[in-house]
Symmetry: C2
């Protein structure tokens, strides 16, 4: 029997794809990384995942686990490999309302989990632009972040337990629902963020939170990035840690959005360099209660804080959303980031984490350093400023990729000098190092 036949015997012939049927699994959404998998297999149960991996181990077949295939920096490259899609592991999430947990399979789409939690008046807070396609398996395997990390943490912080199938087909059941679990070594966090290199995550127990009753959302123009960090700290104190999102968009981001998006509008009457999308939320009935004049106390509270900072000169301008439509408009500008990137003929994209107080220095130093290689390069940034996570992109003047490696190395120089790391964005080296770029060097150096 061929490998394909043996896979079909495990999962059924309709769930083993080859040739043109397999091709979409080897291509990322941006069309930047195009590979041809040997085949795609779509097991329908954990037992089938185990059998597939056991077979792959026995036959020495390379396996690339895949869920929603929304990874942008090449995490799904699968040339000649067997793609193991977990998309059929998509049973309805089991919500435990009292304990505020969701037990979820790896193939569940993130937005479906959002819906399932909402039916119980709860939220799974992690969210990002690709939520309608991204699946839980990939969310966990990449330790995904998103727009709410400043309030709720990364995926790692939201996961209580995982189920993992090891390369030899053994199933490791770490499906704890405990908020503290000191049994043995903490293998859960080793598997999360391992990009599938230690095993295939097939399920998880995730934390849920009470659904906010009201949001207050604003676009704020700041005098500087340092002033923005100060605003964040002030808002956290004034609202009791209620900041749910704190997103930075520089002028070029806003300009590109105006060019690319239909019906896009300037956020302010005059252009500004430091544009922040800030959102606070509350579960408190008193702050969420709509008054007779239609006003919401939480919104008034945000307006009060911003007005105070405007008097001090730290805030240059601010627009507070007065209804859900205005709030959606603010968010849609932010969530178009991936589409905006496609507007440029060439880009060197990175996903960087920095200590919160080094972001300003990074942005001051990195472009001059890159311009030693490409004097006409520009840059394009959008950032989860609240947790020091920047999507930093260099727009090279040559569009043939000639400077890409040197530019990426130059960015890494500054990142490492400031104690930062590449969250993802390598896409050149296989397996885990995809997520580290040149940081694999740092990794080795970490043990001295």
């Amino acid at each position: 029997m061929t490998l394909i036949d043996r896979l079909a015997a495990i999962c059924g012939a309709p769930h083993v794809l080859t040739g043109a049927e397999a091709a979409p699994y080897g291509r990322d959404w941006m069309g930047k990384y195009v590979t041809q998998p040997m085949a795609v297999v779509r097991p329908g149960s954990v037992a089938e995942v185990a059998a597939v991996l056991r077979l792959a181990s026995e036959t020495g077949t390379p396996v690339v686990p895949m869920s929603g295939n929304t990874n942008l920096p090449g995490g799904g490259k699968a040339q000649g490999a067997l793609v193991l899609s977990v998309a059929r592991l998509n049973a309805a999430p089991v919500i435990n309302r009292a304990a505020r947990t969701a037990t979820v399979q790896a193939g569940v789409v993130l937005s479906h989990l959002h819906d399932a939690a909402a039916a119980h008046d709860l939220i799974f807070p992690l969210t990002f632009g690709a939520r309608g396609s991204a699946m839980i398996g990939g969310v966990l395997s990449t330790n995904a972040g998103g727009s709410n990390v400043v309030r709720y943490g990364n995926t790692r912080d939201l996961c209580l337990g995982v189920e993992v199938v090891l390369a030899d087909g053994r199933v490791m059941n770490l499906m704890s629902a405990l908020h503290k679990d000191n049994t043995g070594y903490n293998l859960r966090n080793l598997v999360i963020g391992a990009e599938g290199t230690l095993g295939v995550i097939t399920g998880a127990v995730l934390k849920l939170f009470p659904r906010p009753r009201a949001y207050a959302t604003a676009m704020v123009a700041m005098a500087s990035l340092d002033a923005a960090l100060d605003l964040l700290n002030r808002l956290q104190a004034e609202t009791g840690g209620a900041v749910e999102a704190f997103e930075y968009m520089p002028r070029l981001y806003v300009e590109t959005h105006l060019k690319v998006a239909p019906n896009a509008r300037e956020p302010f009457s005059v252009p500004h360099d430091v544009n922040i999308l800030v959102e606070v939320a509350t579960t408190r009935p008193d702050l969420a209660a709509v008054g007779p004049d239609g006003s919401v106390p939480l919104v008034a509270q945000l307006e009060g804080v911003l007005a105070g900072l405007m008097d001090e000169g730290a805030v240059l301008d601010a627009v507070v959303a007065q209804n859900e439509g205005q709030r959606r408009e603010m968010w849609s500008r932010r969530e178009m980031a991936a589409e905006l990137m496609r507007h440029f003929p060439a880009e060197v994209d990175t996903d960087i984490c920095l200590p919160l107080d080094r972001v300003t220095e990074f942005l001051a130093r990195v472009l001059p350093h890159v311009r030693r290689i490409d004097p006409n390069a520009r840059d394009f940034t959008v950032a989860h400023l609240g947790d020091g996570n920047l999507h930093y992109t260099v727009l090279p003047s040559h569009h043939d990729g000639r400077d890409e490696d040197a530019i990426r190395a130059a960015v890494e120089d500054i990142v490492q000098d400031l104690g930062g790391s590449f969250s993802c964005g390598g896409g050149r080296t296989p397996w885990l190092w995809m997520s580290c770029g040149r940081s694999s060097a740092r990794w080795t150096r970490a043990i001295s």
Copy 2:
């Protein structure tokens, strides 16, 4: 040269202790585990820690790392071993106010870190009764919890980076200050909670938080434990997640406190079975501002929520602290837990984590199960109810330890049946399994 001489050559003779000088390091605070270390070495730098471990590796010398020696379940047992005390690694913590981090050595006493953060109007939130002696190294190595876990998480959640000396003397520098760090495998969380078995933690980067401007603290008598969990969820929603502590003390706890503590008072005018210490806190100036009549809005808010639940019958009685003295009195009752335990002639103590919604079932089932072994056993509980962490103690009727193993096994039966785990409390088996008790069996079974 003897081993002692070689240790003295590394750290200086005054920092190598033997005989009577070494004895205190082999004895726990309760006096329950008394061992005689071969020697104690107290390196004064990371380089000296590395040299000691290298020497121990070369000579096959067993090493027990130790910091504050406040561990109760026997984590410091060191019969015939070399105790490596990190107590001299106690440089003043370096506080980064803008980034809200503290860089701390392993020998820093927890309360000293609290003081250092307070000087910058920040807090390191983790706290527990032994904070005046416990040191950061042990806090990390045991993934300590405490009274504020419900708000800020366990030690693991509060740690951004660690520095670890491996058994062969290599220093692993994982001192990231990043809120998201996806470089390579997550080794930080593997080392945290590993009880020193993977290496000796010598330093860490820890998260700090804004200091609350006001607290509201109450003793609340509930109709049942389930009602208490409902109270927690209601309070979280009503206060916007401001619950900092939610501690359960049953009647026997209160009675024991009345017997043991000087000046102890009943919390309520009549005795109740389910007594909860609840504390909410705010950084918001408006909620913390003291009114002309001396009232604090946060306190009024807590009173309002409790009054509403009293009308519904869920809250039987409640006393809200009106000043810091009353608040300290409430906390001192809770923080005397370890002293109260010493009051009993014999006890089988465990530290258990349960899914939040299984605590009631656990407490209903465990004592009847234990009484199959010892029909006259009683139990004594105090719990961080907000995160499902119970200090559960059986008081056996025989004081000679004859039933201890069987009782512990009986407790573990119920814990495992409910999807819980032993946080610590074994104390019988060496190394890591100290923290797992019989759960090592579960550990093995986890891979099927």
